[in-house]
């Protein structure tokens, strides 16, 4: 995900923590956070994934005036489906196969991060449950307002030939 400006906001962290079922006070209570080792509200370990919100071109968000592939009157809003349905941190359609984070420090409220994406390797594998698998990797560097590296993320997405067999 590319985001020129990803402001780390307290309301966003509160809601993100709720959505992963994490009631830790360090994610919403500034007074409590002051007394902890980080000394301030920090983001949960997977929070940078939410930089998608600040990527103007993120393809898994409906955009005003553009067709959307989810259901409305019809089961899908567009004629042709991209593969098994899109998604994943590795870029491209398909499913999310892997995600890795290296924390140089943990993002905190008030940071304004910039996310820069570099493509990584691609490789193929024959899968038992979903046919041919095409993996693609992307590396995202999250830097703060001072240009310092905060988090390095490596995502791997996989496109499947057919939906994953549930048997």
């Amino acid at each position: 995900m590319t985001a020129k400006r990803f402001p780390v906001e307290s309301g966003h962290i509160l809601m993100f923590a709720r959505s992963i079922g994490d009631a830790n006070q360090i994610y919403y209570d500034a007074e409590y956070a002051k007394k902890t080792e980080p000394g301030t509200i920090i983001a949960p370990p997977t929070f940078v994934q939410a930089s998608a919100q600040f990527d103007p071109d993120y393809f898994l968000r409906p955009k005003i005036g553009e067709p959307w592939f989810g259901s409305g009157k019809e089961p899908t809003g567009i004629k042709r489906q991209p593969g098994g349905g899109g998604g994943g941190g590795g870029g491209g359609g398909g499913l999310h196969a892997e995600q890795h984070y290296e924390y140089h420090r943990h993002p905190r409220v008030g940071d304004v991060l910039t996310a820069t994406v570099k493509p990584g390797k691609t490789w193929e594998k024959e899968g038992k449950r979903s046919g041919k698998l095409v993996f693609s990797e992307s590396i995202t560097e999250y830097r703060d307002q001072n240009g310092e590296l905060v988090v390095t993320a490596r995502g791997v997405g996989v496109r499947t030939e057919r939906p994953v067999d549930q048997k």
């Binding site: 079922g21 980080p38 370990p45 930089s51 898994l60 989810g70 259901s71 899908t76 890795h100 939906p163």
Partner: protein, 140 residues
């Protein structure tokens, strides 16, 4: 809160139930906060009729996020230096997940004490849905 080198040993484990009977609403919540609005996670009609899956399913990142809660509860806030996972099976509404961290190594690097952990998250049928590793700073 942080782990102490002198109190840790290889093979120590820590487990938390990170979700019980996962609700579609929680998946919707996660779509809203993460910004990943892929209909595969929230749109039952699209997912069953167009994509060909039996139901909507959770974002892999929701499972990683919930598993991350187990990790930060174990190692303390702001202590992780690495956290990486593979999504090994899909997570469905109704699933109950238990996440476990196991101490694999205790080491020092540049004067900093670290613990290396392996991570596994399994569903109510014992199927592993996430497998990974993490490293955290620990006290002496």
């Amino acid at each position: 809160m942080a782990l102490k080198k002198k109190e840790l040993k290889i093979g120590d484990t820590y487990t938390e139930r990170v979700v019980e009977d996962l609700k579609r609403t929680q998946i919707v919540q996660y779509a809203g906060t993460s910004g990943d609005y892929n209909p595969l996670h929230t749109d039952e009609i699209f997912t069953t009729k167009v994509a060909g899956y039996p139901s909507v399913f959770a974002h892999g990142m929701l499972t990683m996020g919930m598993t991350g809660r187990m990790l930060t509860n174990y190692v303390g806030d702001g202590r992780l230096t690495n956290y990486g996972v593979r999504f090994t099976s899909q997570v469905w509404p109704g699933d109950t997940l238990d996440a476990t961290a196991t101490v694999e190594a205790i080491r020092s690097e540049g004067g900093q004490n670290l613990v290396d952990l392996s991570i596994t998250t399994v569903n109510q049928n014992g199927v592993e849905v996430l497998k990974g590793t993490a490293t955290a700073r620990i006290d002496a």
